[in-house]
C-alpha cells in the first residue's frame, strides 16, 4: 500500500512520523486564539491549533461546524475576527489570497470551463511570470503525476468526473505550494472511485512532500488519508489525534459517536483500585473498565464500547472481565460481518459485531436466541464529557 507516513496505534513508535509529539518541531501553521464571526453567528470559537510540515491533516465534522471557514481563512478568503494565523512563523492575516504560498482544491473543482486541461494547470504558473519552457516542463510533470497526459488538450466538460478531480489537484499543486487545501476533494465521486482516489491522493502527498489540509464530512475518508484528524463541532476543536487515537481513545461522547458505530452506556462510577465499576441498571452486574482520568465515586459517567470489541457466545467467556446476558433481537447480515442487536434484561440494546468466518448454513445464532456478550476491561473507554 502506498501510504502517507503515519503512525498506527495510540502510543507512537519513535521512528513514526509524529512531529506533534516532538517539542522542538516548528509547526508550519499556527492558529492562535482565532475567532471568526459572521454577524451574530460564531463560525470559529477561540481556536488554537498547530499543523506541521508534511502532515496530511483532516478537518472532520458535520456541516456548519466551521471546518470550511477554517480552511477559507488559510486560503485568505476570510479574515479572522480575532486572533492570529501564522504560516512558517509569519502572520498571514493581512496577505491577500493571490499572494499566499497556499493553494486550494475547490469542492466544485472550479475548473475554468473556457480553458483546456493544459491551460488550467498552467494558469497559476503564468501568473508567476515564469518562462514558457519552465511552464511547459512543470505542466508536463503535473500531467504525468496525475496520469492526464492524453487529456491535456481537452476542455473540462470533455473529461469524466474523476479526471476533472485530478485536473483540479494538478492545478493546485502546480505552483508547488507550501500548503495545499482540499475542500471535500472526493465528495463528487462515486464510492468505488473515491476509494481508489484516496490512495492516489496519499501517494501524491508523499511524492510531493506537500502539507495537505483536507476538509471532509466523511469520517472513513478522514481516517484513511490523514496523519491526524481534528474533529470539530460548533467552531471548536473537540479532539485532535491520529486516526487510531480518535477511534480507540475518543475524549468525549461526541467524538465516539461521530466516528464509527459505538454503544454508549451511562451509569454511576465507583473506583475499585485501578478499575472503575459502572453500575448502569438495577440488578445488573457493573461494567468493569480501566480509566485514565480522575474519577470520583458516584460520578455520572458514559462508557463507550465499539461493537467489534464485544463477543457473542452461548456461554460467558471466562477470560473477559465483563459479561452480560441478553436476547438477540435483530441480525444485520452484511456479508463479511454480521451485527447483532442484543436486548438486555434491563431494557438496553447493545450491538455487537462478529466476523462471518463460517458459511451461512453453519452459523450459530438466530433471532430470539439467549446469548452472552463478553468483553475485556480495556476494550471500552470511560468518558466524562
Amino acid at each position: 500500500m502506498a501510504s502517507a507516513p503515519r503512525s498506527s496505534g495510540i502510543k507512537h513508535a519513535s521512528t513514526a512520523f509524529a512531529p506533534w509529539e516532538d517539542p522542538d518541531a516548528k509547526p508550519l501553521i499556527q492558529f492562535k486564539n482565532v475567532t471568526k464571526k459572521f454577524g451574530d453567528f460564531t463560525a470559529i470559537d477561540d481556536l488554537t491549533i498547530d499543523i506541521y510540515q508534511r502532515e496530511f491533516f483532516a478537518l472532520l465534522g458535520p456541516s456548519g461546524c466551521g471546518k470550511t471557514t477554517l480552511m477559507r481563512m488559510l486560503a485568505g478568503f476570510e479574515n479572522p475576527t480575532r486572533g492570529q494565523i501564522l504560516l512558517g512563523g509569519q502572520d498571514i492575516v493581512a496577505v491577500p489570497p493571490n499572494k499566499r504560498p497556499v493553494n486550494m482544491m475547490f469542492q466544485s473543482y472550479a475548473l475554468f470551463p473556457h480553458l483546456s486541461v493544459w491551460d488550467n494547470i498552467a494558469f497559476g504558473l503564468r501568473r508567476d511570470k515564469l518562462d514558457q519552457d519552465k511552464i511547459e516542463e512543470r505542466v508536463a510533470e503535473m500531467l504525468r503525476l496525475t496520469r492526464l497526459e492524453q487529456f491535456a488538450k481537452r476542455k473540462p466538460h470533455q473529461i469524466s468526473g474523476g479526471q476533472r478531480q485530478r485536473v483540479a489537484l494538478a492545478r493546485s499543486l502546480a505552483k508547488a505550494p507550501k500548503l495545499l487545501l482540499l475542500d471535500e476533494p472526493l465528495g463528487a465521486l462515486d464510492k468505488k472511485l473515491r476509494n481508489e482516489t484516496q490512495f492516489e491522493l496519499m501517494d501524491i502527498q508523499e511524492k510531493t512532500g506537500t502539507t495537505f489540509v483536507i476538509v471532509t464530512h466523511d469520517q472513513e475518508e478522514a481516517m484513511t488519508v490523514a496523519s491526524r484528524v481534528a474533529v470539530m463541532d460548533h467552531g471548536k476543536m473537540i479532539q485532535v489525534d491520529t486516526p487510531a487515537g480518535i477511534y480507540e481513545a475518543p475524549n468525549s461522547v461526541y467524538v465516539a459517536d461521530f466516528i464509527g458505530d459505538v454503544n454508549i452506556v451511562e451509569g454511576n462510577a465507583t473506583v475499585q483500585g485501578d478499575r472503575v465499576h459502572i453500575s448502569f441498571a438495577e440488578g445488573a452486574d457493573p461494567i468493569i473498565t480501566a480509566f485514565d482520568q480522575p474519577i470520583s465515586d458516584g460520578q455520572r459517567v458514559s462508557y463507550a464500547i465499539r461493537p467489534e470489541k464485544i463477543s457473542v457466545d452461548r456461554e460467558p467467556l471466562a477470560d473477559r472481565a465483563n459479561h452480560v446476558r441478553g436476547k438477540i433481537e435483530d441480525i444485520g447480515y452484511l456479508g463479511d460481518v454480521s451485527t447483532y442487536h442484543v436486548r438486555l434484561p434491563s431494557g438496553g440494546l447493545i450491538s455487537a459485531l462478529m466476523t462471518n468466518s463460517r458459511r451461512l448454513a453453519r452459523r450459530d445464532f438466530t433471532w430470539d436466541d439467549e446469548v452472552w456478550l463478553s468483553w475485556t476491561d480495556t476494550a471500552g473507554v470511560l468518558l466524562t464529557k
Binding site: 486550494m104 475547490f106 472550479a110 475554468f112 473556457h114 501568473r127 481537452r154 470533455q158
Partner: protein, 271 residues
C-alpha cells in the same frame, strides 16, 4: 409519457397563427403592385425600389443604426459594471437606491422616461439631436443589460473567481481572465437586447430627438399615422427578414453547441 392531445395541438396551431399571421400578411402585401393595400394587383418589388430611393428613410436608418450601435455598446459596458456591482460588491452606501435605479426604468412607462430626460436636456441646455438620443437609450438599455448579466452572474460559480485569486490573480486579472470569458455570452445577449431596444424605440426617441436627427421608428410612426403604406410594408419586411435570419441562426448555433456539448460529456464519462 407526455400528454399531448388534439387540444394542445389546436392551441399551438391557433396561437402561432395569431402570432405570425399579421406579419405574414404584411410581408405578402409588401409585394403588392397596387398602392391600395387592400387590393391585390399582382407581384411587384417596386415599393422596395421606391424605399431605397427615399432619402429621408435612408438618412433616418443611418441615424438609427449609429444610435443603436453606440448606445448599446455604452449600455453594455455600464450595465455589466452595474451587474457586477450588484452581484459581487456586497453592501455599500446607497446600494438600495442603486438597485432601485437599475430596476425602476424597466417598469417605468416610456412616456415618463422620455419626458423626464427631455426636461433634463432642456434644463441643462443640451441641444437635442443624436447625442441626446444616445444618452437616453444608453440609460434605459443599461438597465436591461444589467438584468441579463446579473442573472448570469448569480448562477456563476463563485469559486471560479476564488480559484483564480488562489492561483495568483489580482482581483482585476481574475475578472479579465476568468469571469469575463465565462459571462461573455450573457454580455453579448445583453448587447443584442440593447441594440434591439434602441432600434425599436419610438417614444423615448421622439422626446429626446431634435430636428437634426430623426430615427427610423419616428419616421415610420409619422408615416403610418396617416394609414397603411406599401413602402412601410416593404421596410417592415426587410426588418422582419433581418430579425428572423438573426434569431433562427442564433438558435441553431446554440442548439448545435448544446448537442455537441452533450455528446462530449457523454463520451467523457464513458472513457
Amino acid at each position: 409519457m407526455k400528454r399531448f392531445s388534439w387540444f394542445n395541438a389546436t392551441s399551438l396551431t391557433l396561437g402561432f397563427v395569431f402570432l405570425y399571421m399579421p406579419m405574414i400578411i404584411l410581408v405578402i402585401y409588401s409585394f403588392n403592385a397596387s398602392k391600395l393595400v387592400t387590393v391585390w394587383a399582382g407581384f411587384s418589388t417596386k415599393w422596395y425600389v421606391e424605399l431605397f430611393h427615399n432619402e429621408d428613410f435612408l438618412a433616418a436608418a443611418v441615424v438609427t443604426l449609429k444610435v443603436a450601435v453606440v448606445s448599446s455598446t455604452f449600455a453594455t459596458v455600464l450595465g455589466t459594471m452595474a451587474a457586477y456591482v450588484l452581484v459581487r460588491q456586497g453592501r455599500f452606501h446607497g446600494r438600495t437606491l442603486f438597485s432601485g435605479m437599475i430596476y425602476a426604468p424597466l417598469v417605468m412607462p416610456e412616456v415618463i422616461t422620455g419626458l423626464s430626460l427631455l426636461l433634463l436636456f432642456i434644463g441643462i441646455g443640451l441641444d437635442r439631436g443624436i447625442v441626446t438620443i444616445i444618452l437616453a437609450h444608453t440609460t434605459f438599455a443599461m438597465c436591461y443589460v444589467s438584468v441579463v448579466v446579473s442573472s448570469r452572474l448569480t448562477t456563476f460559480d463563485h469559486s471560479l473567481e476564488e480559484a483564480a485569486l488562489d492561483l495568483g490573480c489580482s482581483p482585476f486579472e481574475a475578472f479579465r481572465l476568468v469571469t469575463l470569458p465565462i459571462i461573455a455570452p450573457a454580455i453579448i445577449s445583453g448587447w443584442l437586447l440593447a441594440f434591439t431596444l434602441s432600434l425599436d424605440d419610438l417614444v423615448i426617441a421622439s422626446f429626446t430627438s431634435g430636428p437634426s436627427a430623426t430615427t427610423l421608428p419616428i419616421k415610420i410612426f409619422s408615416a403610418v399615422r396617416l394609414g397603411v403604406s406599401p413602402e412601410i410594408n416593404a421596410l417592415s419586411t426587410i426588418m422582419i427578414g433581418i430579425v428572423t435570419v438573426g434569431v433562427v441562426s442564433a438558435s441553431l448555433i446554440t442548439k448545435r453547441a448544446a448537442v455537441k456539448r452533450a455528446r462530449d460529456e457523454q463520451s467523457a464519462e464513458r472513457s
